[in-house]
């Protein structure tokens, strides 16, 4: 008799309607389509509509995950909300989402761990359930990047990468934890290599009119450093989690990596000597959606028939901070 584990019992994804192709973006950035595909493997991405906020997108995803689980919204006991692009500086987007969905006055926690935010949230959710505090938790990742991507040639390396999306999973508590093994890490010495500087609390005033002119409202990235560290840490933490679980890499049915750049994921896959059919990528049509990327990939892997009930799934992420981690689960 297999153990009664905490499981993902529902997945829901929300994509804004507007598709932004490389042809459209390339024209604004002064680059051709081949340049974009060559850098990151992305063909198109979605952008939120004017007036569409992060919390609203998250609310769609949470509703779909609950429906997929067969839950009423009033059955959700706790929500963890990972995002680096909250609607406002404060309060966090979680309260807006709670209000939009008219959820009961349950706890909703905002999590700020960038591209690794979903995995950091999943570990907290798993621990809350292992402590028998809650039985039905939703973890959601939602991001709107499109508003802070300067779409001219000065920031083309960053602007081509990102897309907007939200995705959520519904977790049902069992007697055993969700994670067969997990490992999460941060190294703040990498903070300056991928960041958005505003707002800067230590300054008086903390926002200046010159900030826009100095482009401090758009993200900056040292692509080479991020790329090299991402490949190194994603490969290494994957091996670590597999070892912790006492299995081999080939025992894993599906690897679901964060979707930052197809070239990073291909380099990780080559380093681990994994077959392409076991390494799920959907960045080609979604772009990098940071905290939403792993649950969105889970949703689309299931839709594509490559994620199946009972599969051993390893999720791995790396992102701004630096933050990184991996979690092995039985789907």
């Amino acid at each position: 008799m297999p153990p009664n584990r905490t499981r993902i019992v529902g997945i829901g994804a929300y994509l804004p309607e507007r598709v932004v192709t490389n042809a459209e973006l390339g024209a604004r950035l002064g680059v051709d389509e081949a340049w974009i595909v060559g850098r990151c493997g992305i063909l198109e991405r979605r952008y939120a509509a004017d007036g569409e906020g992060t919390a609203a997108m998250a609310a769609h995803a949470v509703r779909k995950a609950a429906q997929d689980a067969g839950w009423g919204l009033d059955e959700i006991e706790y929500v963890l909300f990972a995002t680096l692009s909250p609607d406002h500086f404060f309060p966090g987007s979680g309260v807006y989402m709670q209000n939009l969905l008219s959820l009961p006055h349950i706890p909703v926690m905002d999590v700020r761990n960038q591209c690794s935010g979903f995995l950091f949230s999943m570990e907290v959710a798993d621990a809350l359930m292992a402590a028998k505090r809650y039985r039905k938790i939703v973890v959601v990742g939602a991001e709107i990047h499109s508003h802070c991507l300067e779409t001219d040639e000065t920031n083309k390396e960053v602007a081509v990468l990102f897309g907007d999306a939200a995705a959520a999973v519904a977790l049902q508590a069992g007697d055993e934890p969700l994670a067969l093994a997990s490992s999460l890490h941060v190294d703040g010495s990498g903070a300056d290599y991928l960041k958005l500087e505003l707002f800067e609390q230590k300054r008086r005033p903390w926002i200046k009119a010159s900030d826009i002119e100095n482009r401090r409202h758009i993200p900056v990235m040292d692509g080479a450093r991020v790329f090299l560290r991402a490949v190194s840490e994603m490969a290494s933490v994957t091996k670590k989690v597999v070892e912790k679980a006492g299995i081999n890499l080939e025992d894993v049915d599906l690897f679901v990596p964060h979707q930052a750049n197809l070239r990073i994921n291909e380099a990780v896959r080559r380093r681990l000597k994994l077959p392409a059919e076991k390494f799920f990528n959907n960045i080609q049509t979604r772009g990098n959606t940071t905290a939403a990327s792993i649950p969105l990939a889970l949703a689309e892997a299931r839709e594509a028939g490559v994620l199946k009930k009972g599969h051993l799934v390893l999720m791995v992420a790396f992102g701004s901070g630096f933050t990184w981690g991996a979690m092995l689960i039985r789907y």
Partner: protein, 78 residues
């Protein structure tokens, strides 16, 4: 760390950038001569890490312009 040779490094660069070995020499400039971009150079560094079982500090990769620079970056770890 496995020993690397100039000829093997050039062979890998040619393979990754889809060039004939004869098209790549230490004097080759990645952007101008080999039609590569900065991410290609980073990916090449990853490939060298895999092949020669070494770790290249990002500082060594930043600023690489030619195949000679790349060989020097590897030599600094040697």
């Amino acid at each position: 760390m496995d020993t690397f040779t100039q000829s093997r490094v050039i062979e890998i660069i040619a393979e990754v950038l889809r060039k004939r070995s004869g098209e790549v020499s230490p004097a080759s400039r990645f952007v101008e001569d080999l039609e590569a971009n900065s991410l290609d150079v980073v990916e090449l560094a990853c490939r060298m890490e895999d092949v020669f079982h070494l770790q290249i500090p990002p500082e060594n990769v930043v600023g690489i312009k030619t195949v000679h620079d790349f060989l020097m970056a590897l030599k600094r770890i040697d």
